[in-house]
């Protein structure tokens, strides 16, 4: 679009590109560099072997995986009812679901803390999964509803005329057709769950159940503050998600812009 530039324009844009790259890369480079101070690459081995790092990794994976699954089930099925089946009152249901859209999780800690404690759910995965799922559903339901609404009406009508029940249509036709939006919701929700810090901080004190985002704090709570290890842990936590992004760039871009563009 801006390819026909005169020489000064070209020079200026080249300089700006280099500055932008430097500003983006510098902190990343500093993080990696600091993680290698002291004992060098061994820092990474020490983080993995002397902390419950793998345990935290599994906990993060379980919490994120279950949250994604629950959010998918809830948002796709509610979107199907709201966009296609449209029983009386489904507009009200949509308003109720979408009301939670911009809600900061912290705004619910007083009731959550009381209920979770009363139910004996402190220090369980559920204490994180349930609230996380509830505040992630509105976004999923919104993008799924928009997606299903944009499908041709004939798709549903033809299936019904062919004798498919609502359930058969949902499982056999809608879910396969909705695969792109399922991918979008999966990425968006997984990223949010994997990076979630607040809910585990408040509801999971037991070391065995903690998640990856708590590892840096874990190092600081240990007597000695070992900066390179904190950075090595940070790199290890980020690696899977950065790798996933680099491998699936298009999907990530779609997933992250879905709430805004469509």
């Amino acid at each position: 679009m801006f390819q026909h530039q005169r020489l000064p324009g070209r020079v200026i844009s080249q300089i700006l590109v280099v500055i932008a790259l430097a500003l983006l890369i510098a902190p990343l480079a500093m993080i990696v560099q600091t993680s290698l101070q002291g004992q060098g690459p061994e820092n990474y081995a020490i983080v993995i072997s002397t902390t419950p790092f793998l345990r935290f990794f599994v906990n993060s994976l379980v919490i994120s995986g279950v949250t994604v699954l629950l959010v998918l089930i809830c948002s796709i099925s509610s979107a199907y009812a709201i966009a296609t089946l449209r029983p009386r009152g489904s507009r009200l249901a949509m308003v109720l679901i979408l009301a939670g859209m911009a809600l900061p999780g912290i705004a619910l800690i007083v009731p959550l803390f009381y209920v979770i404690q009363a139910l004996g759910l402190l220090n369980t995965y559920w204490a994180v999964i349930v609230p996380l799922t509830a505040i992630s559903i509105p976004f999923g339901a919104l993008v799924a509803t928009n997606y299903i609404r944009a499908l041709p009406v004939e798709l549903y009508e033809a299936a019904r005329i062919d004798g498919a029940s609502n359930w058969t249509y949902f499982v056999r036709i809608l879910i396969p057709v909705a695969r792109p939006i399922i991918a979008v919701i999966t990425i968006f929700t997984f990223l949010a769950a994997w990076n979630e810090y607040t809910l585990p901080l408040i509801f999971i004190q037991e070391t065995d159940l903690q998640v990856l985002t708590q590892v840096p704090t874990y190092f600081q709570s240990q007597r000695l503050v070992d900066t390179p290890k904190i950075f090595a842990a940070g790199v290890l936590i980020s690696l899977p998600i950065v790798l996933a992004y680099v491998l699936m760039q298009r999907l990530f871009r779609e997933g992250m812009s879905a709430g805004a563009v469509k």
Partner: protein
């Protein structure tokens, strides 16, 4: 095709009603979770906000609107609100300007523009908890960032960015801008990709400079993206907690305290659950306005 009225009227009615009833089942899982956690939670907050309560004992002492009176006269509440607002305005403005510039730069013929497109989004996928913890150490007086600044400027820099009240909030804003400019870039990049090229060509032929083209043609065409980024920016500013909690924890003093951090402090650190609930009600009220805006925007574009 002619059938008896009773048959045509009676037969399809029953399966129709059964279908209508089963349609509601698809709404049940989402409604149970959202209503059960979010709506019940908000209503419970309103109830708790009328109590003097520690959040643990089964019942608190009813105090009416005393918590709200306290809130409106609590300087830390106003400071938190002001900081949240300053954070929102500063991060949104900077991220929009830089995101827009990046979207233009990847459309020039500059060398390394492909790398820029990939790298710009890397910080966005990182956990704010990791980014905040890292910058906390990088921004200490003897940290790596001062080291870099010293070697660039040629004189020793030992600014305590996060511990100095005059720079702490600005430092937090800049960390956020570093992490999330890639998001604004992504939105602008997608929108610029849909601008009709002939519009650009026509403006060029009329002799417009690049600056005039950006200012009077491209920027106005992206008004939808500007609006989306402002609304989403406010929402994410209202939610910001990890970044502040893990860099300054609201300090020094209350100079960087935000609403979420203040709620956490009151409820978890000081067991003022009743007062925390009143603060939460204020936060929910603000967030609700922006929920409505986001849904409006998103649904309008889908149609």
């Amino acid at each position: 095709m002619t059938s008896t009225p009773t048959a045509s009227r009676g037969a399809p009615l029953r399966p129709g009603r059964r279908i209508a009833l089963s349609s509601y089942l698809y709404l049940v899982p989402a409604l149970i979770l959202v209503v059960g956690v979010v709506h019940v939670g908000i209503v419970a907050n309103i109830g708790y906000s009328t109590l003097d309560w520690n959040g643990i004992s089964p019942n608190g002492k009813p105090v009416g609107v005393a918590n709200y009176v306290k809130m409106f006269t609590d300087p830390t509440f106003w400071v938190s609100l002001r900081n949240t607002l300053v954070f929102a305005v500063a991060t949104i403005a900077l991220q929009m300007i830089f995101g827009f510039a990046l979207a233009v730069l990847v459309r020039t013929r500059a060398f390394l523009r492909g790398l820029l497109r990939t790298l710009a989004f890397v910080p966005v996928v990182l956990a704010p908890a990791v980014v905040a913890t890292s910058f906390r150490f990088l921004l200490t007086p003897d940290g790596a960032i001062n080291g870099l600044l010293s070697s660039i400027t040629g004189q020793p820099v030992d600014q305590a960015w996060l511990a100095d009240p005059s720079t702490a909030l600005a430092a937090i804003v800049l960390i956020n801008v570093w992490q999330y400019t890639g998001y604004s870039f992504l939105i602008y990049d997608a929108a610029m990709g849909q601008i009709d090229h002939s519009v650009i060509e026509a403006t060029r032929i009329d002799g417009a400079s690049t600056w005039q083209l950006l200012r009077h043609v491209v920027a106005p065409l992206l008004s939808g993206s500007h609006l989306v980024l402002i609304v989403l920016g406010v929402i994410s500013a209202l939610k910001t907690f990890d970044l502040v909690f893990l860099t300054t924890a609201g300090g020094p003093g209350t100079t960087t305290q935000v609403l979420t951090g203040y709620i956490y402090k009151q409820v978890i650190d000081q067991f003022h659950a009743g007062y925390g609930a009143a603060l939460s009600v204020a936060l929910v009220a603000i967030a609700l306005v922006f929920s409505v805006l986001q849904v409006r925007l998103s649904s309008r574009e889908a149609r």
